[in-house]
Each structure stands twice: as structure tokens, then as C-alpha cells.
Amino acid sequence: MLSRTADNLYWIARYMERAETMARLLEVGARMSLLPSAHGYRNEWDSLLQASGTAGGYAQKYGQAHQRDIESYLFFDPDNPSSVASCIGKARENARIVRTALTAQVWDAINSAYQELRALEKTPRDRLDLARLIDWAMKQAAIIRGSIDTTQLRNDGWDFLNLGYYLERSDNTARLMDVKYYVLLPRVEFVGSGMDNYQWATLLRATSAHRAFHWAYGGEVTARKIADFLILNAQCPRSLITCMDGVNNHLNRLERAYGRCSRPQEVAAKLAAELQALSVEQIIEEGLHEFLTRFILEAANLSGVIFETYLSGDVR
């Protein structure tokens, strides 16, 4: 397949996954802001901007963190390259470029999301509540993902779509967890308190994993269990280990289809093996934030290697 086509497919998936994460982040923020805290809601919203890597851009445009502005910035703002609208717009543009590599149903799903988004943008903001926007974004992402799963041919294009999904999702899970780090607990005695647990539980909700978590771990919600769930539990669909398994699986499929080993395979296998060998105690010892930061860098390095090998068109 043309390298450029593969690159566009990969980025369609990344943008759609990112759009979904932005919607999930907004949900985390909205729920956290409902909880009374020593600082009011500002810290929580601010932590969200920090975690999504959009704090700088936001500060330049709006200065102080206000819920309304943050919503606009994370959902609609074309100046924010990670906003839901920017991501869907770019996914649609990429899809338009590689329409020949998409089924009619996938194109229709992406294009319809884009057309509906245009209509939402024209709707007065006071008639759109955040919950509705979040639901809308998640639903579009699900429809697109579902169309891909049920109609796309299982060829290399499918592998590149999935590589995009898994890599972006691993990055996003890591960032979502990092929100917790940025929520500065006012005093050390809050650790393990009702408020601390509420924030962790909110994270689970944001990953649509609240019930799944209870199935896997029983009643009590603790930081340790959640970290285990979202990083090391292969049953959790958004865990880092599940994402890395997915990346490895699709790289292996490419190896078989193309009949040659690749460097991305080596890098990805190493990353997956490291995760396999880790325990949650070791992660906490290293420091959750430190671990997540390291993971995000390693995943970025892997995506760079994938680009050089398959997507840049320079392979000989």
C-alpha cells in the first residue's frame, strides 16, 4: 500500500481516538468540579489542561481557567490542535484523502460526524450542555470504530488503522491517569480520604471502566488497584499492556504479510516485555507520574520508528 495512504489511515485512527479522549477528559473535569474542594473547581480544571498538554495554549488565549472557556477550548476551538472539533476535522480531511482505502460505511461515518459537528458549531452555546457534547463525541467515535471493525478488509490498511488506535490509546490512558497527579491534593491527610477515592473513581468513569473494575477487583477502589487495572491488567481494554499487545499483534501481522522483520517489532516487543515484568509496587516505587512520563516517551519513540519504517516512504 502507498506509504502516504498508510500514514493517513494511521492518523485517522489517532485523531479519532484523541477526540474521544478529549471528550473523556471533559467528563472527568465536569465530574471533579462537582465535588467541593478547598480551592473551588479551578485546580481540577487546570489539572485537566495540564494532563492533556493544552495548558500553554489555553493560558495564552484565556488566561485563567474557567469552566466555560475550558469547555470551548477543549471541544470546539480550532486553535487547539487537540480539541474534539480539530481532531474530527483532521480525521475527516485524512479520510477524504484516502477515500479509496475506506469502505463506504467508514467514510459515511466519518463524514457524517464531521457534518454534524459543523451543525453543532452553529448552535448557540447556551443550548448545548457539556453532557450532550460528550455523549455525542463518544457515540461518533464508537460508530466510526464499529464501521471499521465490521467493514474494513483485514489487510495492511487495517493494521495501520489499528496501530494508530492502540498507540494513541496507550498515550491517552497514560495522560488520563496523569490527571490525577496534577490534581494537587490540598493536604497530605487527604490521601486515602473520601475525596481522593472520588477522584480515582472519576478516572474509572472517564475510561468507561467503572463496572469492569468492580468485576475485576471487587468493591473497594484504591489507587493501587486502579493503577494495576489501567496499566497492567490485560483484561482492561484501555490498559497500557492491552494497547501494547495490540500494537505487537498488528506489527506481527505486517511482518507476515510483507515477509520481513521490522525494527518497530523489536522496539514494541521490548516495551511489552517490560510491562509484563512489572508489578504495581515497582510502579509506585518509581513514582506513578515518573513511570507514566517515561512510558509516554517510549511510546512516542515507537511511533517514530513506525513512521520511519512504513509511513515515510523511504523504505528500500
Partner: protein
Amino acid sequence: MYEKGRVRPPYRQLEDWTRAMPAELREMKQAEAEALFRRIGITFAVYGEGGDPDRLIPFDMFPRVFTAREWARLEKGIKQRARALNAFLVDVYGRGEIVRAGRVPGRLVYRNAAYEKAVVGFVPPKGVYSHVVGIDLVRTGPEEFFVLEDNCRTPSGVSYMLENREIMMRMFPELFRENRIEPVDSYPEKLRRTLASVAPTKCAGDPTVVLLTPGHFNSAYYEHSFLADLMGVELVEGADLFVEGEFVYMRTTEGPKRVDVIYRRIDDAFIDPLCFRPDSMLGVPGLMDVYRSGGVSICSAPGAGVADDKAVYTYVPEMIRFYLGEEPLLNNVPTWQCGREDDLKHVLSNLPELVVKEVHGSGGYGMLVGPKCTTEEIEAFRARIEADPGNYIAQPTLALSTSPTFVNEGIAPRHVDLRPYCLVGERIELVPGGLTRVALTEGSLVVNSSQGGGVKDTWVLAE
């Protein structure tokens, strides 16, 4: 539709259909059609018109109909013309016999901006320069068709021919059950076969065909991706291709893959920055050398444009006689060339009755439609002609036929033209149909989409 006050036979069933359709249903169907176009993402602009890439062209649901007999005659005439145009191209890049014989003036050929010195002496595979010839026709009477223009480079709009049909079949299946309408959907397969049939001499085995597009910012991008999709070939941009040694390759996830035939939808000037415009980012450096040494075929061939400008057009009947020894089956519109003294005199004294066009103009721009213009407009245009007579041609406003068209008040006649697409490779063929463009503004003669034109489905009825 009407002839001597009576409905022409091919339209009889349609007349009943129209009569039976209440206005609300028609409006609903119209909205449905537009929603379909938008949803599929069909956007289109005729070659060189530019404009908003996401613009929809108005779609008229009333089809245009040809009988099998009418079509058979048109088909013959179109193929004849396409053969002559290709013979002319091979000749003017070779011995130039038509010029030597004094049948076509040399300056029109050799000083033509579209004459490509880079291919002089080169005969492309199967002797074909123009592989898709789009011939614009108008009808002036029951048996009378005139050719308005030939398009030998990269005529666009064929996606509309195919999509209009899709949408009509989806919305009005009963019409297709009741009428025996020839299908057009073999076009992409025929195009692919045509392209494969002109593979270069160095190609062994199954040729790899690609469609080269300027990219997704181009107004015809939809058409490019649509055609590539239906042909099952890669849609590439210049940066996806590179030249190494004697061949052209595309960049794939598995490494370089050789390309044999390029159906290019970019202009000559952008094909190869080493040969033409050095600032072009759209083309492939070194492509022309590979082309001339038989490593790749370019369709249509660079330089094909010399056969389709409005001044050369006047000599096409002459080409048919010269190369084929036949009489033209389709007539040219009588045309005056302002570059000739006698013609110029005639044109200047009859401006209010004439249509005057720029030789290299397209898209309904830079033209004067005499009967529709004010005295001031005519005088302003007169000055332009006098300043550069060689740049203009003039034609009479023909009594163009109209086709029934849905308008706010119901059905009304509107002027139409027709562009069938003739494929030239090892064989020469065309599907029974074409793109009918319609001037939606009452009385207007201009069917270009940039001037308020729309499109409609074109039917050829089976015997």
C-alpha cells in the same frame, strides 16, 4: 421534448411520470437527492473553474433521453473525431504532413502554447496521444448535432455521469423498470482496460496503472479518488512517485513498486519540474525522460492539448478528411477566426448576434454572448478583440435545443449540452451516456457550473 407540438416518443413515458408526481413529492425527492450528494461527498468543478472544493452542483432530476438510433449516430461521429484528433497529434509531433499539405496553418500548430517540444518525434504506445476525449455537443434540431469543443487533455465530469445515474436509480427505480435504459457503469472498467492497453514497451506482464492527482485541495479531487477507487488502482500524488534508473516507482509500505501507466489528472506544465515548470511541487522529477525512453506511459500524453484549442478546432473536419478520407459525421459550429482579416470584419460588424470566446478560455469566462449584452458591454468587448484579434473566435448563437427541466413552477425548457467520454487505446469505445449540463437560469446559454449550470442524468434507450 416536444416536436411539432407533440411529445417526442422517447419522452412519452417520462411525461406521464412527471404528470403523476405531485409537487410535494418532487420537492422531497429533490432534497433527498441533494442530501445523497452531500453525504457521498460528491463535489465537482469543471476543469479550470476553481472555486469552493466542497460545493455541490445543482442536480436536475429530469433525465435527458436519446433513442438507440440517435445514439448510434452520435457514437460513430464521436469515434471518428477521436480517431482524427489522435492522428493529427501523432502527425504534428512527427512529419507534420497536414501542415505541409497546407491544410492546417503551421503557426496554429507550432506556435501554439500547448505544442510540446519535449515530445517531438515521439510516438506513444499504440499511437495514442489523447486517451480520453471529451467532446462537447449541442443539438439544434432532431437530426442536427454540433460539436462545440474538443477536450483532449483531462476532461472531467465523468464521475457525475456515473453518480447521477446511481442517484436516479436509487430514487426512481420504477423509471428504470419501465424504460430500457442502457447502463453506463462499465466506464471505469473500460477506462482501466484502455489505460492498460497502452502500457509502455518495457513493461512485462500485467501493467501497474495509477491515477496521478494534484491532491486533495484540487476541485476535482472527488472525481480522481472516485475513478481510482472504481478502477481499483492507486491514487497517487507526485511525491508518492520517484524516478530511479529507467523506471518510475511509487513509495509503498513494502518498498518501491514499479509503475507502468500513469493516468495523470495534472496539467502538462506540472508533470516534471526538470522538463517543464521548475517550481512545480506536483510532478515527478525525471518523469519525462522515462516516458520518452519507453519506461512509462503517460495518459493523456503531454502535448495533447495542441489538438483541442478553439482555433485548431475549426480544422477538425479537415483532419477527418485528411487522415481518414471520410466526411465528418458531426459538424462544427461555423466559426470565425478573428485572426483572419475577413472573419474579423464580419465579426466586428455582427457582434450583437454572435458568441465570442477567447481561444484559450474555458469555463464560460472571457466570453461575449452578443444577444444578452448591453451596447456598452458589446463596445467594451469590441475594444478587447481589436487589441488582440488572434486571441478570439466567434460563433453564431445557434437555435440550441432545450431539455425539460424541473424549475420552481414545474417543468420548463432549459438549454443543455452533452459531453460523452470517448476512450482511445488498443480499441476505441464509449459507454452509452455522458454528462448533460443544463443552464438553470431561464434563457441562459451558459451551462458551466460556475455560471449557475447544473447537471442531469443522460439516458440512451435500448432498441
